[in-house]
Amino acid sequence: MTLSDRAEEILEALWIELVEEKKEICRVSILKDDEAIKNLVRLGYIEIKSPQNQIQLTKKGEAEARSCVRRHRLAERLLVDILDCKKKLVHETSCKFEHFLHKGLDDNICTLLGHPRTCPHGKPIPEGPCCKDAKRKPEKLIMPLTELEINRKARISYLQTQERNVVLQKLIAMGALPMTEITLLQRFPSYVFQVGKSKFAVDRELASCIYVRVI
């Protein structure tokens, strides 16, 4: 049973208000005779409590909603980092995009992106099963430099740009920009990497802002 786009959007908004922001009362405005709402109630995802028509997520609904948010934020990451989408367009596009990322597919995208922790706006991306697996066996396409195998050739995919701006400026000064080839030479006591013919020593904080893809 698939949900309509509108129903997914409602679940997302509810989850953000009730779970992520821990608000007591939900401010999502609804129309009681909205088809999507009726459908959600019928599926047992939400409950409407009298007397004030309070909407609440059920256990089942919460899991579904979490997964919607996850897909939305993963879609944003994909659009910004890989497809180079402009900010204005990101929200609208990802709202359409997420509905294609059906279950299972979202884990593939997550793996491709190296299990990112935040969306481009800095909001946390709820973990999926793939992220938990990845902690056990690191087999990913895109990963932070800190996890790259020593002496393995890789190419920079993107930089974690939500970090402090000074960090980004430093990475630019080092020439560690997307598309550049990079090799990790050692990771202890500091991370040492090579870009072109230059070597740089950096700390963990900086190294984990560089996401690379093995070539």
Binding site: K86, K87, T161, M174, G175, L185, K197, F200
Partner: protein, 643 residues
């Protein structure tokens, strides 16, 4: 006179090139309002005289460090007739973005591909003619340390075309329309092209924003509006977008002009890896410390000092000068100013020349060698994790290691640290727990032959360094430090470089030290004549006795106010006469090591960190040194230890 400005990233050989071009009339000064040094010199090239300015290292026209801000300000304010961009030929891809920024700004530019020797060794072949065509400017290959390419550079300066082309649109930015839009609104005149002004505005450059706000009073709100609008359309900071698009063009150019042959792994490369691998790196570090000890501690502080002190001063200078002065000047009081116990020559000069100079000179030779090989960044990367615990990052090893040579100079060098918090912590630790080479040399000599004494001393000082560093990193507010450092190739030190560096440092040191030592002798003399000295010695006698030292050592501590090493040298005299041994000797040495920074270091701290901070530090250190001395004394005497 026409002006040439040298720019480029750190460590690409700008200074070497600057020296090769100028030879004479060099002045080094702080850039107004900052602590960054800028050298200016004159050169005759062809028939014309030029002023040449060497700038601090810069990576991009969008500055992040103090050095970069100064370098850019020079470009904006000096109106150079010609800019020479010096780059490391091995790293074209990383360095060409700045060349392009210079061209986009409208500066007449010559590109120097320096360090060609290393590039060739690494199998990098650059088609210079093609690069000239791609960029539309003269490109000169050079090995500035051997002088190769300097003549060609001079010829290119002479024949530099009067008119240069326009680089607007050299890179097709996705922001092109907006840049052009802003450009068309700018009505005032600017030291760089309006295209670049617009580009920097979009990248949130504070300084440029202020400049535009001043010059475009009417249009400014409208301009900000455009900037805001563009910015909201992108998720990533615009500086990042711009850097990416510029890099794209650079990559295209590099692919056309550079060919890389697979190069063999060189011995240097293997050695380089060994210095960075923790398993071999730390033993190598210890080996270096050991060699340093042999050279500075044994050759400098023992053999050379012995020779200069006992033979040169003891047998020749002192007897001769004393005889001369006593026969020329009949008054004992005036004689005392020059000779006898505290005379300018017999004490001040003897300390400065015979005890301090050999130690400091050998240390600076060793430090310059280590610096020139490129070892220091490797040490920084080995030690970063540990330094983070005391609120510093790996970069701070440079001032801290230099502190073992001369704390005063090291405090000056703390300005290269990025955050104010790190600069304060580093200056504080230098003042408290880093003995300078002269002091260290004397301490080693004092404790020599008594391993337990030395071990306790080193243990106490090291624990205090770590403990106080840890505490101050907890207390001091401010951003956490970030560590990043380029690791240059290991190079064999160049003798001429080492000599120049040692020479400038020793010269600086002597200028700093001589007047102080002479002043100290004069002050002591005045104090003696007026009896003030006795009073001070008596006052100083109290804290000294509290920590279980003989009263006579008060004199040495009083000297310590002038320079730490002066004080330590005073202890040396006491030990030799048998007044100080065992536990009191250890307590005296520990207290003296921690003791208040000498006048020179204190005034440097005031200059770099401000009077309030410096006074706070001194106010903590003075009682703290005696407190620790007292505690050590108490513990050892209670335990009945005799050393």
């Amino acid at each position: 006179m026409r002006k040439i400005v040298l720019v480029g990233s750190p460590n690409v050989g700008k200074s070497v090139l600057f020296n090769a071009l100028t030879k004479k009339y060099v002045t080094v000064s702080n850039y107004p309002g900052t602590t960054v040094e800028v050298s200016r010199g004159k050169a005759k090239i062809g028939e014309a005289e030029y002023q040449i300015i060497d700038t601090p290292g810069m990576y991009s026209l969008l500055p992040i460090t103090e050095e970069e801000r100064v370098a850019r300000r020079i470009l904006l304010e000096e109106k150079p007739d010609l800019v020479i961009h010096v780059i490391d030929a091995k790293n074209l891809e990383r360095m060409l973005p700045l060349t392009i920024q210079l061209l986009e700004s409208g500066f007449p530019t010559i590109l120097v591909l320096n360090i060609m020797d290393e590039a060739e060794k690494e199998g990098i072949i650059i088609n210079k003619n093609l690069l000239e065509k791609e960029l539309g400017i003269p490109v000169v290959g050079a090995v500035s340390i051997t002088g190769e390419g300097i003549e060609e550079l001079k010829n290119r300066i002479i024949s530099f075309p009067q008119k240069t082309r326009d680089y607007e649109g050299f890179i097709s930015y996705s922001l092109k329309d907006e840049i052009e839009n802003i450009e068309s609104i700018l009505t005032s005149s600017y030291p760089i092209s309006k295209w670049m002004v617009a580009l920097l505005l979009l990248q949130e450059d504070e300084e440029i924003r202020k400049m535009v706000e001043e010059r475009e009073k009417n249009n400014f709100p409208y301009i900000s509006q455009i900037v805001e609008k563009v910015r909201s359309r992108y998720v990533n900071p615009l500086s990042y977008e711009v850097a990416l698009q510029r890099q794209h063009k650079v990559r295209e150019i590099v692919e056309k002009v550079v060919k890389v042959k697979e190069a063999k792994v060189t011995f240097q490369e293997i050695l380089s890896r060994l210095t960075m691998n923790p398993l071999t790196g730390f033993p190598i570090f210890l080996l270096i410390i050991y060699l340093l000890y042999e050279f500075v501690g044994v050759f400098g502080a023992q053999i050379s000092v012995d020779f200069l002190e006992k033979t040169i001063f003891g047998q020749y200078i002192n007897p001769f000068v004393t005889k001369l002065v006593t026969s020329l000047i009949p008054w004992k009081i005036v004689q005392d100013l020059f000779v006898h116990e505290y005379g300018i020559i017999t004490l001040g000069m003897r300390y400065a020349v015979a005890i301090i100079l050999p130690i400091v000179a050998t240390f600076f030779i060793a430090f310059s060698i280590i610096e020139d090989t490129g070892y220091l960044p490797r040490l920084a990367m080995l030690i970063d994790r540990m330094f983070k615990k005391i609120g510093l990052n790996g970069r701070a090893v440079i001032p801290i290691v230099l502190g073992f040579g001369c704390d005063t100079m090291a405090v000056m060098v703390t300005r290269t640290l990025e955050t104010k918090r790190e600069r304060i912590i580093a200056s504080f630790l230098l003042a408290l727990a880093i003995p300078c080479s002269a002091q260290l040399g004397v301490i080693l000599a004092l404790l020599s032959g008594n391993a337990p004494l030395f071990a306790i001393w080193a243990g106490v000082i090291a624990s205090i360094f770590v403990l106080i560093g840890y505490l101050s990193s907890k207390i001091m507010p401010g951003e956490k430090p970030i560590f990043y450092m380029e690791v240059p190739p290991l190079r064999l030190p160049k003798i001429s470089n080492v000599l120049t560096k040692t020479y400038t440092r020793v010269e600086w040191y002597l200028k700093e030290v001589f007047p102080l030592f002479i002043m100290a002798s004069v002050l002591i003399w005045i104090g003696k004549v007026t009896r003030l000295f006795d009073l001070l010695v008596r006052l100083m006698g109290y804290p000294v006795q509290w920590i279980g030292l003989p009263k006579d050592s008060a004199v040495a501590f009083l000297f310590g106010f002038f320079r730490r090493d002066f004080g330590a040298a005073g202890l040396f005299d006491l030990k030799r006469s048998g007044v100080l041994t065992g536990v009191p000797l250890l307590v005296a040495v520990i207290t003296m090591t921690l003791f208040i920074p000498c006048i020179a270091q204190f005034s440097m701290t005031v200059k770099e960190r401000g009077l309030k901070t410096a006074l706070l530090m001194a106010g903590f250190i003075f009682p703290f040194a005696f407190l620790i001395g007292g505690i050590v004394n108490l513990i050892l005497t209670t335990l009945g230890v005799s050393l």
